[in-house]
Symmetry: C2
Subunit: 717 residues, 2 copies
């Protein structure tokens, strides 16, 4: 694959050399990047962006699983159609299909309450607490270090969550180097104001997923409400619109190729600063193995589903999620290979270590760095065992339930604060509902075949890589495995919903003593699972202790290269900047960075997912684009493409122009960028945004709401 | 579909307005286009291109089914790999696989003789003979007019073909307005000098067929030989290289986006100047009906092939050709709809007729034009009948054979010159070989099902649209049809090869009297088939007589618009000019007009058809492109794209730069251009060429032949 990158034409080589617009910056880092921001075209003062709890960044909020932003003083929020999809679905009925038809609230009374578990969080505090988190951990190692951090975090969170409606968490930056206490105001009454029909909001659906050129109007407008006292409240007709501390201004124009853009949001997780060994492990072992193992599970479900249609239906959702995982992992693998990520990171790390050897503090840092590399190398011995044992509780239904009930019988006797995360009082409701869902998702023949698929692979591991408890439950040979599965699944009563509920309610009493073969199996496995967990915590504890040395070396090395370093994404607010950028997808193939309504007509077949609604087609035909068309080309824009640095969690992120005005909403990446969670390759990393001109035109001309446009500050044309 | 063209962005609209580089010009028209040629960038004197029997155009020859050109004084000819594929195949043996490995002749003795039926034709005469062709026809109408033209053509051809090695034909320009006698020298000893491996010459094969961006090195170099006396001769080791009257000069550089290019070749057939009614018929009836009818036949073969694998294999080739036809017709339909061809041509014709009404000779021309339109309208009554009856002899095997033997028994008693084209003495060998092939391609159950598919549709035609003879053979109901087919195919002995040969040899004697039910059926159908033929000739005779008036009006109308008119393609030498042009394929998708070797590496999977040979990959990796790379980008070119006007028959056509030097060979069109046989849409019409720099680099660096490069005047770098 190295040939590939060597063979790029001159234009691509230039793109490689150009200053990469990589970076998910902490707002506090932006003043230090003032020169770069200015060169890139930003016309504001980066100092104004330094505090995420003040305007304008406190207009950017977490909502659903993504990002949103306030766009009016009365609490209007824009986010993606797919981020608000649950709200639209919740309000749809056979006689009022908001998914198909979209929704335009006639007035405030017409704004429809979201599903009660839908949440919006405004960040109101972001304070460095590194010293308090690390105080008790100093001098400790392994699991003790991990537990000390965990305990300190829980204390800080409890101190912080004194007020109703406030949610707190501790964010770990640079892998254990810095810790921040994040304080968020959680709003619980969100209402649907405006949604386009599915055939606009999700035009192209799965066929166009990860695809550029794109033509989706992936936006929805909600409004946040609070109680009459101005505090977060559950829905009530007496509630009032929330007045956010700030809101973004919609741009009256738009952007075009080469223009500066920036984006703020809550990217979930990236691995950019992992070690070269972790890159190699990901590309050479983890991704190909995951694809192989998940494909085997997919084959099991498909084969069983052919013989038994009813079983096929029960496993449809698990099958879909396996397919998505396989597709995603394959795409990530393809991308990392295309970018030659292993070699690039290896050479980079080697250069860093060589440089470090010449530095005064090189001798101090190097031992800790060597320990990090050794710990990561040790992980190889147990990686396949841990992957397969992990699947036993993630890719089964009844087994997963039995393991959860068994674990609860260990955790419930403890004080709540001592209980393992995921098994505390607050988690019990979720466990109960999962036990209930088993009824719709389980078939014994399929589950036995799935476990056989994992465990046949497991049985081939060397002795040192296996666990005696697992051997005891599933045997050492395919024949013993088959016999064990037959015995367990023929004998268990756990498939009966009432029995599951009884055991759940009565744990630990009933569960701990149960002779049900499935619960006996779970109880037998328990010490092994707890041991794996403790091993993991010990390894993570040491990594949390030692990795900051690696990061210190990396940051210093980058500084010497003239580059700043952002912490890997961790669901805290970050800012990226870059520009509207075309994509040279393949030899001689260039994708322009703006799409137009002509593409909607081109793609339209009249059949889902290319079934644009008649009002949209009529409006395109009519061509009344005045005030919204691109001034250069005269064409009506739909979506645009940038090189902004994004990952999952950035859905709905506001895209701002050089003046800080809202010009787009982020909603997807191109397929070539799936690997960007590990490596930002400037040739291929692109983010896909819906153009606010398209949103405004739809609200003005196609499904009009003049009142909404007035409130947004961009009145009808 | 009109929305589509209305919705184009401004850039596309510009392309529509720009002066279209449409036109397959007769060389004699070029001096009249001198101003346009100069504006387009041509740096030579158009007068030098006016005579296709003189240099440089007499270097452009017909070869195989396409076009070639002489490129050395000693008779070297370049054409496409796919045009010379038969020659490569003919010379391949299991121990010498020239298809897989390519071929580099070590010296002249190593040049391999082509298959004996491979031909090259040099045009040596091109004279207007309109008066002699029309003399006897004047005053006649219908079939008599047609027959008079046919007889006059045969006389001229006989007069012309006095010398051995000379082949003559009469070409009809502007639908009966002008006639030319084409005189060609036919060379019979061609030899293979240089061919790349299939994985270069046809890189991408069917997957990339009609696709841009393309990465095929679709060229092959042959040499023409003549007898020691300098005259055309069959292969003999005593033959000498042919010294062509002229040859093209290979350019030492190349072209880039926007550069002028021109192309000369033998395009087969186009329909650009057909009437609006014929456009409508093609789009609204003929193409959709053909797709529907052929799909039904495809379904029959696929269904039968599932039940009977052996039958499936026998019909594999017919199935493939049905699929190709369906694909081509669908593409043409899609393209004509995309270009809104019916409306565009309708509006154009209406404007022409309106303008004509204001002209002095409008009154004279109009009655003939009205007759043309009436004749075309009449064709509607019999079009479906003729289509289905035509399929009876084109999409059957045994029935086709019986119809041919029956027809021979009518034709053989006549003087050879009087016999119908296709049934003359020269055609008998072909008929005999087709009768022989039936053995490998026929299954009675499949043939009955195919005929049933056509005839069930036929039975639904109104009484006036059917033929009594067909009704008599196949009945008037599905039940009668099934019974008739069972009876005919159970009773016939024509499936026996010896019996077919006996009847063929003995026709008319045995065939005319045969009681074999299939021959009886053919004999019963005969009067209907002859009647259809006579009706067609009568219609065509009148159209040949009257259409020149339509053309006269069209030419005058175009003159008023400032445009010249070229005759529709008819396999005579034509010249197109235009420029190297990108393709805006879809909204936001632009294809650059030059591909590079980077694309070969990108596409390469190691599996056919993307299995570039190791020597090529190594050479790309090595990157020794000096003297061949594009000076602007530094990249090594492979293929390029232009807006040149081409159609089938232009394969292998030389592409020349502004100085008239050879820079490329035409080898394909993009998928969007399939409809260009009817309408040249400047937005989508592109031609695909192999870059001579790629050819020269391969001959220099990858499969070297320094002697060949010296002879081509472009020595190794």
């Amino acid at each position: 694959m190295r040939i590939h990158s060597m063979m790029l034409g001159a234009a691509m080589a230039l793109a490689l050399d150009a200053k990469a617009d990589e970076g998910m910056w902490l707002p506090s880092q932006l003043p230090g990047l003032a020169k770069n921001l200015k060169e890139a075209g930003f016309r504001g003062d980066p100092k104004d962006l330094a505090d995420l709890t003040r305007a304008p960044l406190n207009a950017v909020v977490r909502i659903g699983g993504g990002t949103g932003s306030f766009v009016s003083a009365d609490g209007l929020v824009v986010t993606n159609h797919h981020v608000a999809f649950g709200v639209i679905q919740y309000n749809s009925r056979p006689d009022r299909d908001l998914i198909a038809n979209g929704y335009v609230a006639a007035d405030r009374a017409g704004e429809l309450p979201a599903n009660p578990d839908y949440r919006l969080r405004v960040t109101v505090g972001f304070d460095k607490v590194t010293d308090r988190i690390l105080a008790a951990a100093r001098g400790k190692t392994g699991k003790a270090y991990y537990d000390a951090l965990d305990a300190a975090s829980k204390v800080l969170v409890a101190e912080c969550e004194t007020e109703a409606g406030i949610r707190c968490s501790v964010a770990n930056m640079f892998y254990g180097r810095d810790f921040y206490l994040v304080k968020q105001l959680e709003l619980r009454d969100l209402r649907l104001v405006y949604a386009p029909p599915r055939a606009i909001g999700n035009y192209g659906d799965e066929v166009d997923n990860f695809v550029w050129p794109r033509h989706a109007g992936d936006f929805t407008i909600l409004r946040a409400y609070v109680g009459p006292d101005g505090k977060p409240a559950d829905y009530s007709p007496d509630n009032k619109p929330y007045h956010p501390p700030s809101h973004l201004k919609l741009a009256t124009g738009g952007v075009t190729e080469g223009d500066f853009v920036m984006l703020a949001g809550y990217p979930g997780i990236t691995y950019r600063h992992r070690t070269a060994a972790e890159f190699a492990d990901q590309v050479e072992w983890r991704l190909p193995t995951a694809v192989e193992v998940l494909k085997a599970l997919q084959d099991v479900i498909e084969a069983k589903g052919k013989d038994d249609k009813e079983a096929g239906i029960r496993y449809a959702s698990q099958l879909q999620s396996l397919k998505n995982g396989i597709k995603r992992f394959s795409g990530e693998l393809e991308g990392l290979r295309r970018s030659d990520a292993v070699a690039v990171r290896r050479d980079d790390e080697a250069a860093m270590l060589a440089w470090l050897a010449t530095q005064p503090d090189g001798k101090t840092l190097r031992p800790a760095i060597d320990q990090v590399l050794a710990l990561i190398a040790q992980g190889k011995d147990v990686r396949e065992r841990d992957l397969l044992v992990g699947l036993l509780s993630s890719q089964t239904q009844l087994m997963k339930g039995a393991l959860a009930v068994d674990r609860l019988s260990v955790e419930r006797p403890k004080a709540d604060a001592e209980r393992e995360t995921g098994y505390q009082e607050r988690d019990e409701e979720l466990i109960r509902s999962q036990l209930k869902q088993i009824q719709r998702r389980y078939d014994p023949a399929v589950e036995k075949a799935l476990i056989a698929s994992m465990m046949l692979r497991y049985q081939k591991l060397p002795d040192a890589g296996r666990l005696p408890e697992v051997d005891k439950v599933f045997g050492r040979s395919p024949a013993e495995l088959a016999k064990a599965l037959d015995r367990i699944y023929a004998g268990t009563k756990f498939g009966d919903e009432a029995e599951r509920t009884r055991l759940f309610d009565a744990a630990p009493a009933e569960a701990a003593a149960s002779k049900d073969p499935l619960l006996v199996a779970a109880r037998t496995l328990r010490p092994a699972l707890l041991r794996i967990e403790d091993e993991r915590k010990a390894r993570e504890g040491d990594l949390l202790r030692l990795r900051p040395s690696y990061m210190q070396a990396l940051i210093a090395y980058r500084e010497k290269q003239g580059k700043a370093v952002y912490p890997d994404a961790n669901a805290t607010l970050r800012v990226s900047y870059g520009k509207v950028t075309p994509l040279m997808a393949r030899d001689a193939v260039t994708y322009a960075p703006l799409t137009t309504v002509a593409g909607i007509v081109e793609k339209n077949t009249g059949m889902a997912p290319f079934d644009a609604p008649k009002p949209l087609l009529d409006a395109i035909h009519k061509g009344d684009f005045a005030g919204y068309a691109d001034p250069k080309t005269g064409a009506m824009p739909v979506d645009f493409l940038s090189n902004l640095d994004t990952t999952g969690g950035n859905s709905g992120s506001p895209v701002l122009d050089a003046k800080g005005e809202l010009v787009g909403l982020n909603f997807d990446s191109n397929w070539e960028a799936v690997s960007a969670s590990w490596m930002y390759d400037p040739r291929y990393k692109r983010a896909i945004h819906v153009d606010m001109r398209y949103m405004r035109w739809l609200v003005d001309k196609v499904y009009p709401s003049p009142a909404l446009l007035r409130e947004l500050g961009v009145p009808s044309k």
